[in-house]
């Protein structure tokens, strides 16, 4: 059996999903659904799996998340719906519940954060509520693992017995009631034939969702009758169709709450939240606090934990490399194979692997910011700023994640409901320097600007953002004309993040990175080793300059001469950076025939401080790695646009590097 997990954002959905499934999660794709969804085996019910659908507030055909949820439920016909509801915010959460009930699918309501409600002296009469909305209501606490087994028992039970929601009428007798009933009666046959709940289709038709007219195959005549009945209702009720339906749902919810919910006075969590907000979103403190938080995170990531763990890991890798080297030499293996293993695989993959700790630590902090509710505050504080470049505060979060890794950042643009905002954010995200570029900056600043590494990095980061802003302003006036999406966003109470969720996320990021390290990057290092070790006649070369790679590098060198990078080893490293940004440095070390430690020293022979600047700016801005390009392609849904974006980014990078190199040459 398969269950859909549906709920509002900030309702604890991901925590519940993790509690339900443990580590048995994978990404599933479903026919007819454009976006991959997380699926997990349920720990407490053998043979049952649950799909984690995106967090939504309503089922409208506007944002991608809403469409995904709607299509999943309509096309996949899950055996049951687990609707998670935040008990501390019950009215708005039930709004989605009422729409889900109309789908006519066995459903259980998981009333999350009941511990918080009780802790503040509130109560919810579970049986009264269950009776009012016609489905089982199970109080749970996803983070404390309370009520989970009962939830699983109930959903599997009602799914097996196919017990449908028993209440469908949320309307007081009156014009709205009459309208819904006459429409749903009229389309009943169509709905049955197409296996869609008539009630759900009726409300969607009244709301004006045209896709249902097609799905049901309604005739022009029938559409007109519906339209007539709706405008009659609008006239009689004194509200337009959308306001009337929203009003109907909220009135019903108010009645349910009056009967079943005793709310407390202002909750402890809210009081605490207001206090924290006085500092984090206060008039004078908000921006300094934001930058302070980001600096502390970057300092902890790259300074404290990062460097320590990276050193530890690279030492381990070096020891292993030496051991294997010794073993292979003693065994007397063919020198070409020896070179493949030591110079190709161990050097390439090893250098990339040593950055795993940085990615893990950064994602650890970013997911804490997300889970505590701070990211929403960032959007609140930054909205005005981002509006200047034609976006909303919500685009800030994906861009922020872009500093960690472009891939998840681009995936995070799914929370944006307008295509225009999404495309523009996707385009801008690569300008936020990703963490994989850090080794490049690190090696170069050690070599050319010793003692000023931090300053060099900060300058580069800000330069990337600056170029992004300029690009946004230009795009706003040209390619992306139009209005940004409405900015209507919940500010949830601050919460302690669930460490389990944070660690699971970090684990997935680490796994993803390792997978890339051993697939894309592994392959790339072997290809680059091969190109570097052989010439066009497949003879193994002793001098790198005779190799195939040198030939390719030589071929494109002319492009890089004007920006001061006229050496095939540089152009080759830049190409290698397409596979993954970490590969820029590893390729350079392979081509220069040095270890990672010795690289800083050997770079002096290849760059002047000025051409090093040009190189840094070029690598900062040019096209993101293959994995990111693949993600962009998936999210944009267009090969042409993706290609255009990649080219544009390369051009911008080249122009900036050119300006810096030429102006620098004039000055020095």
């Amino acid at each position: 059996m398969i269950f859909a997990l549906v709920g509002n954002q900030n309702s604890g959905k991901t925590t519940l999903f993790n509690t339900l499934t443990g580590s048995n999660q994978h990404v599933g794709n479903f026919p007819g659904i454009t976006v991959d969804q997380k699926v997990g085996e349920m720990r407490l019910a053998k043979g049952c799996s649950v799909v984690d659908l995106p967090g939504i507030y309503s089922i409208r055909p506007y944002s991608m998340e809403e469409i995904v949820t709607r299509d999943f439920i309509l096309n996949q016909k899950p055996d049951g719906i687990i609707n998670i509801v935040d008990a501390t915010n019950i009215e708005r959460n039930l709004y989605l519940t009422l729409q889900l009930l109309e789908l006519h699918i066995p459903m259980v309501l998981a009333l999350n954060m009941m511990d918080e409600v009780r802790g503040n002296g509130g109560t919810i009469n579970i049986s009264a509520m269950s009776k009012a909305i016609g489905i089982p209501v199970i109080p749970i606490s996803a983070s404390k693992n309370e009520g989970i087994s009962e939830l699983v028992d109930r959903i599997t039970d009602i799914a097996k017995k196919r017990i449908y929601p028993s209440v469908l009428d949320f309307c007081q007798p009156g014009p709205v009631h009459r309208c819904i009933h006459s429409v749903s009666h009229m389309i009943e046959d169509h709905a049955e034939r197409n296996d869609i709940s008539a009630r759900f289709a009726a409300t969607k038709l009244i709301e004006g969702d045209q896709s249902f007219a097609e799905k049901l195959g309604l005739s022009q005549n029938e559409m007109e009758t519906i339209e007539h009945s709706v405008s009659e209702m609008e006239h009689e009720y004194g509200m337009d169709r959308n306001a009337a339906l929203a009003d109907m749902r909220y009135s019903f919810i108010e009645d349910v709450c009056d009967e079943a919910v005793v709310k407390c006075k202002e909750s402890r969590e809210h009081k605490r939240s207001v206090k924290i907000d006085r500092i984090l979103t206060g008039r004078y403190l908000a921006l300094p606090m934001f930058f302070a938080i980001m600096i502390v995170i970057f300092w902890l990531t790259f300074g404290v934990f990062g460097s320590f763990l990276v050193d530890l890991l690279s030492q381990g890798i070096e020891t292993l490399t030496n051991l294997v080297d010794l073993g292979l030499t003693n065994y007397g293996i063919n020198p070409v194979v020896h070179s493949l293993v030591i110079d190709g695989i161990f050097a390439g993959v090893g250098s990339v692997l040593s950055f795993l700790p940085i990615i893990v630590v950064l994602f650890f902090f970013l997911s804490i910011l997300e889970d505590t509710g701070y990211m929403a505050r960032v959007a609140f504080v930054m909205d005005k700023l981002l509006r200047k470049i034609g976006l909303s505060g919500r685009s800030f979060v994906p861009m922020l994640i872009g500093f960690g890794c472009t891939v998840p950042a681009i995936m995070a643009t799914r929370t944006l409901s307008s295509e225009r905002d999404r495309r523009m954010t996707i385009f801008l995200t690569p300008f936020m320097s990703c963490s994989a570029k850090i080794p490049i900056y690190a090696v170069f600043s050690i070599a050319f600007f010793p003692g000023h590494s931090a300053l060099v990095m900060i300058i580069l980061y800000f330069f990337g953002m600056l170029i992004g802003i300029i690009a946004a302003l230009v795009l706003n006036m040209t390619l992306f004309k139009g209005n940004p999406i409405p900015f209507v966003m919940e500010l949830p109470n601050y919460r302690m993040p669930s460490l389990k969720s944070v660690f699971m996320l970090v684990w997935y990021k680490a796994k993803d990175f390792l997978q890339r390290a051993f697939t894309v990057i592994f392959l790339a290092t072997i290809i680059i080793w091969f190109l570097g070790a052989f010439d066009a006649r497949l003879n193994s070369v002793t001098n790198n300059a005779d190799s195939l790679l040198a030939a390719i590098g030589q071929f494109i060198v002319p492009v890089f001469v004007p920006i001061g990078l006229g050496d095939w080893r540089i152009s080759t490293s830049i190409i290698a950076g397409l596979s993954a940004k970490e590969a820029v440095v590893s390729t350079m070390s392979v081509l220069l025939g040095t270890s990672m430690e010795g690289l800083s020293v050997s770079l002096g022979s290849l760059f002047t401080p000025l051409s090093a600047c040009s190189f840094l700016v070029f690598t900062l801005l040019y096209t993101p790695c293959i994995a990111a390009i693949a993600t962009i392609r998936r999210e944009l849904g267009s090969r042409v646009q993706t290609l255009g974006m990649v080219l544009l980014q390369c051009i911008i990078a080249w122009v900036c590097a050119f300006a810096i190199y030429q102006i620098g040459n004039m000055i020095f």
């Binding site: 507030y57 309503s58 009215e91 708005r92 909750s267 209507v488 919940e490």
Partner: protein, 88 residues
């Protein structure tokens, strides 16, 4: 009167929700329907957007969008999370 005219800490009762297309639907979905009580909580550091309290939770909307929401002044301005949104 429109929602953006209400001073910080004071409340109003929604009488009508304007705005176009998606914006309006979002506002309605988030619970800004007529007869609901709204309290202005604060203004963002840069002067926009604003934070409002509605149905016991906090929501942020832009001032330009708040101008689309018609309200009448609520008699009781005291902080009141208990009300189910109804003006009783």
């Amino acid at each position: 009167m429109t929602l953006n005219k209400i001073p910080i800490g004071k409340s109003g009762i929604i009488t009508g929700v304007g705005g176009k297309n998606e914006l309006r639907l979002r506002l309605l979905d988030m619970g800004l329907v007529p007869k609901t009580k709204v309290t202005i909580q604060k203004i963002a550091p840069m002067g926009d957007p604003i934070e409002i309290m509605i149905r016991g939770y906090e929501l942020t909307i832009r001032i330009a969008d708040a101008e689309m929401i018609e309200v009448e002044e609520a008699e009781d301005n005291a902080y009141d999370i208990c009300s189910c949104g109804k003006s009783k």
